[in-house]
């Protein structure tokens, strides 16, 4: 019964029924319209090709979202191979013998002027953070995004991206240092 229902679903019906839901999910992990559209297209294509295998084991929505999640993971994994940009890491810390590990004066965290009660609810601030994430080097962006996607474990990131756990910490740390500076520049200027 479930099976025959899946077979008669047309592309129109699928897109109309699940399109918004999948698009919303993709956007919350990618923040990029074109990219979300591309992965949605790939998801529907893969689902359409594989609909014989579906056999109504889970509900259709769950099945489609699991394909989309896989596509998002694949996207970030491919991105993570792009390492050129991270080779010239510009540390905000002094690395000479005497001041070793101290903040460089001009790049040290300033006191943020926070008069509003809750910045995290400010739509503008949210968008600044999204923008700053998009500026991260590809490899960092991949590790950072996957780490903040619900249900993705650190082990999974290590395995799939071929990064050691201690390296994950370094990447997360450097990403956050960069985000901090980016926010200071764009929001608290």
């Amino acid at each position: 019964m479930q099976n025959s229902e899946a077979n008669i679903l047309s592309p129109e019906k699928w897109v109309n029924k699940y399109g918004d839901y999948l698009y919303g999910y993709a956007m919350s992990k990618l923040f990029n319209k074109e990219l979300a559209e591309d992965l949605l297209q790939e998801t529907f294509l893969a689902a359409f090709k594989g609909k014989e295998n579906f056999k109504g084991k889970s509900n259709e929505k769950t099945w489609l979202i699991s394909i989309l999640k896989r596509k998002i993971f694949d996207y970030y994994r491919k991105k993570a191979k792009n390492i050129e940009q991270t080779q010239n890491y510009d540390s905000p810390f002094i690395e000479d013998k005497f001041m070793h590990g101290q903040w460089k004066q001009e790049r040290a965290p300033k006191q943020w002027d926070i008069t509003d009660a809750d910045l995290s609810s400010d739509e503008g601030f949210l968008n600044v953070l999204k923008k700053c994430i998009s500026f991260l080097p590809d490899k960092w962006k991949s590790v950072f995004s996957l780490k903040h996607i619900e249900g993705v474990s650190t082990n999974e990131i290590c395995d799939e991206l071929d990064v050691s756990e201690s390296n994950i910490w370094v990447i997360l740390h450097r990403s956050r240092l960069k985000l901090r500076e980016c926010i200071e520049k764009l929001w608290f200027k």
Binding site: P11, G24, S28, G101, A108
Partner: protein, 82 residues
């Protein structure tokens, strides 16, 4: 000697970030507390890290009813699957 035992800012800020993901060991907590008590910049960093984390949760959160595909986007998708 004392200086050697204390964290520098790079090490302290790494612990600040690590704390957002995992529980620190007792020693790490003590070292960090000590550093923060003497370093204004790292205190700023710590306060900012909390704000960033709170916002990150919202950034990656999936809100089901928030977004809709436009009719053009839908048509494009349908055409590409056919």
């Amino acid at each position: 000697m004392m200086m050697k035992m204390m964290l520098n800012c790079r090490q302290a800020s790494l612990l600040v970030d690590k704390k957002e993901y995992v529980e620190l060991s007792t020693k790490e907590k003590m070292d960090l507390k000590m550093h923060l008590s003497t370093c204004k910049y790292c205190r700023n960093y710590s306060a900012q890290s909390k704000i960033i984390n709170k916002t990150l949760i919202k950034v990656f959160k999936f809100n089901e009813l928030e977004l809709k595909l436009s009719n053009d986007q839908k048509q494009k998708l349908i055409n590409s699957i056919k």
